[in-house]
């Protein structure tokens, strides 16, 4: 089973990259399907054969039928995911990006670079180990996911470079090919981009930051009560009241999970203000990277809690025209107002250059 030939590429387009999906990227989906099927079908088998309960015969039959249907559904879903992986083909050209899969059934999603608002890169721990991940090009209408792509950070870089070249070609373009409809406002393109006027600025780092130590301390303090109360309940449960063991264990577990999450966010989050846009990267075993360009930034929002105002840290949320709200956020940075003005200046320099 191979992908359908890429006969959908438009005339005059130059293919920069063509890649099939990594075979191991479907493994987590298959494992999830098998696990879910195992739990549900195993529960049914236990109930009918092993529980020792005296079930009404009709109920037993109904359970067995449900398990048969469940098995059929799981096999169908697993086969579909497998075929989808085998027939997936991602194509990056100098004008747009295509995501295709299927042969008997078929799915082809495409968009041009000027419609892309921000780029997301995600890698699970298994994906990092095997060298694949997901690059999602978010537009204002939908996301174009390149799932299970090899070396996602390098691919993201290639897509960004292709996008920069495409945008530079738009700056040089004297006017859009589409004439304005009667009664419509004329395009601002000619005013924005006089022929040959714009030379793209090189992409350079303007500011690099991470969550502040004050944010770390306050967040740890906020999570500590869970641990303390959970620990106390555990001790009481062990000594006198066994029913409290479960509640204490649950609270202590939640406290530990929260502490670990805070430490991971503090240790791995990096926020970058660049001349071309903003970058947020995070993740310890897995990896997440979100990039957006200033052209697609709609507004900046600063949030400071009471401890944040006392200790001088806060969060900047950057909204874009993409689907999800505030996909880019600088969490717990020191002196957020200064950083916000850095972002605003870099944005003004970029858009002024345009």
């Amino acid at each position: 089973v191979r992908p359908r030939p890429a006969d959908y590429i438009q005339p005059g387009e130059r293919v920069l990259l063509q890649q099939r999906r990594h075979p191991l990227s479907v493994l987590d989906e298959l494992v999830a399907i098998v696990l879910l099927w195992g739990v549900l079908a195993g529960g049914g088998v236990w109930l009918v054969f092993l529980s020792g309960l005296r079930l009404v015969p009709e109920f037993q039959t109904a359970l067995l039928v449900a398990m048969a249907v469940l098995t059929l559904g799981a096999a169908w879903l697993a086969g579909y995911r497998l075929l989808r992986m085998l027939t997936s083909l991602y194509t990056v050209t100098d004008q747009r990006v295509y995501e295709a899969h299927g042969r008997f059934w078929f799915h082809l999603l495409q968009t041009t670079y000027d419609r892309v608002t921000d780029t997301h890169v995600r890698q699970s721990p298994f994906g990092r180990l095997c060298g694949f991940g997901t690059v999602t090009l978010q537009t204002a209408g939908t996301g174009l996911p390149l799932t299970g792509i090899r070396d996602p950070l390098a691919i993201k870089q290639q897509v960004e470079e292709a996008r920069s070249r495409f945008v530079a070609s738009l700056r040089r373009a004297p006017a859009p090919a589409t004439a304005p409809a009667p009664g419509r406002k004329a395009s601002r393109t000619a005013q924005l981009a006089p022929p040959g006027a714009a030379v793209p600025l090189p992409d350079a780092q303007v500011w690099l930051g991470r969550p502040s130590v004050a944010w770390l301390g306050v967040s740890l303090l906020a999570a500590a009560p869970f641990l303390v109360v959970g620990g106390v309940l555990l001790v009481i449960g062990l000594l006198t009241l066994p029913p409290l063991l479960f509640a204490g264990g649950l609270m202590a577990f939640m406290g530990v999970v929260t502490l670990v999450r805070i430490l991971i966010v503090y240790g791995t989050s990096r926020y970058e203000v660049r001349t071309h846009g903003l970058v947020v990267s995070s993740g310890w075993l897995g990896r997440r990277r979100v990039e957006t360009t200033y052209e697609k930034v709609t507004d900046l929002e600063t949030q400071q809690s009471i401890p944040g105002r006392v200790f001088g840290y806060g969060t900047i949320r950057i909204n874009t025209a993409g689907g999800s709200s505030a996909p880019v956020a600088f969490v717990g940075i020191a002196d957020p107002e200064t950083v916000k003005s850095v972002v605003s200046q870099a944005r003004a320099a970029r858009l002024g250059g345009a």
Binding site: P57, F104, D114, G141, T142, P176
Partner: protein, 187 residues
């Protein structure tokens, strides 16, 4: 198909659109059959097949609900909504036209009331060319045109015998509409 399209605003009756040189596409009625087939498949999978299996696997006991009654109820529970769905789907598809002109894409359905959806070319953000399993059986395809906007409007052009030429028109229009203005758009 890739030449300049005329401005057909205010001229959306199909005959007028064709006369003015636009592209008018009439969806295949098989699209209605496809949606019915889709619903029937899942109803059968989750309703009729389990009831039938249950009926076959259970011995009849005096005083309990007879198996034939269960089967009869299950089959009619599927058939009745299907018959209503068939009628609605065929009428809706039969009176729908897709029109591509200089301004954008229009989907117009006119039975007694008129419903028209329109997406201008410059608002198109992505194009999805799709053929489901049921579409493949019926030899039809569909095109989803995704547009800007908070609501995420998507025009669904179903029942196309060959969606590739229309997809190419939309793709070419997207590229022609690319400009700094599109790039800077923040709606």
């Amino acid at each position: 198909m890739r030449g300049q399209l005329p401005d057909l605003r205010g001229l959306l009756d199909p005959a007028g659109a064709v006369a003015a040189g636009g592209i008018v596409v009439r969806p295949s009625l098989l699209a209605a059959a496809g949606s019915v087939l889709h619903v029937a498949f899942y109803l059968a999978l989750f309703l009729v097949v389990p009831i039938a299996l249950f009926g076959v696997a259970t011995e009849e006991t005096p005083g309990r609900t007879p198996i034939w009654l269960l089967l009869f109820t299950g089959v009619w529970a599927e058939l009745l909504p299907l018959l209503v769905g068939v009628a609605i789907a065929f009428v809706r598809i039969g009176f729908t036209r897709y029109v591509l002109d200089q301004d954008g894409i229009h989907v117009r359905t006119q039975v007694l009331a008129t419903k028209e959806e329109r997406v201008p070319w410059e608002k198109v953000t992505a194009v999805l060319h799709k053929r489901t399993v049921f579409d493949a059986i019926l030899r039809i395809e569909r095109l989803h045109v995704v547009a800007y906007g908070e609501a995420g409007r998507t025009l669904r052009l179903v029942g196309l015998r060959d969606a590739a030429p229309l997809r190419n028109v939309v793709a070419a229009r997207m590229l022609q509409g690319s400009s700094m203005e599109t790039l800077m758009r923040r709606d």
